[in-house]
Symmetry: C2
């Protein structure tokens, strides 16, 4: 596991740092997408460092991101990537896995987001 994380960075020619390890550990452990607010109390790095490292991970195709109706960005490991349902009313995010794959000629689909009214808000 620790080795996995080290390899992720090595394979991408990224420097191995404490902040990046911490971040990847959380993203891997977490089964749902997280935003900065979700993890800020658990991480030991500045806000700027969080965002810069996330941006780097996104660049390197390690992490996926999307924007929610709460106006915040959410992040998850690309390997765990699956569709999400975002409630426009309570802003909850639900992971969906029983959705057929979507193919779009000429486009490379990285994430699928469904928005609407969740079970509780109906």
């Amino acid at each position: 596991m620790f080795m996995d994380i080290k390899n992720i960075m090595k394979n991408k020619n990224m420097r191995f740092t404490v902040a990046r390890t911490e971040l990847l550990e959380i993203l891997i452990k977490e089964s749902k997408p997280v935003c900065y607010e979700d993890v800020k109390h658990r991480i030991n790095m500045d806000k700027a460092t969080f965002y810069r490292n996330i941006a780097k991970f996104v660049d390197e195709d390690i992490v996926n991101s999307f924007e929610s109706s709460d106006k915040k960005s959410y992040f998850e490991m690309k390997v765990d990537s699956h569709p999400h349902f975002i409630c426009n009313y309570c802003h909850s995010i639900k992971c969906i896995d029983n959705l057929g794959s979507v193919v779009l000629e000429g486009y490379e689909v990285e994430s699928i987001i469904l928005k609407g009214k969740c079970t509780l808000c109906r």
Copy 2:
């Protein structure tokens, strides 16, 4: 057309105002989702008024909204609603209409967003 707009508001028990008419005219004319920036030079109302009216339209199920990778909110008439592809690289938005309907047990899907890399960015 002018009558249609008047009726949209009447049917929702909303007051008929110049700002709302202007906004609905643009949203109806436009075939793609627009953000505040897209229309600010064409409208004759304050930013706050724009957002308050959009919020009202969304509340009244006249307008759909979603957030793009450019961190801005986009709006379109609910009747025109169709899936969108958002490019994570150039932030372009493409309307999709050859996508089967998505049904999700217990959830009310209001919009479908696919994100990834567009034809030009690949």
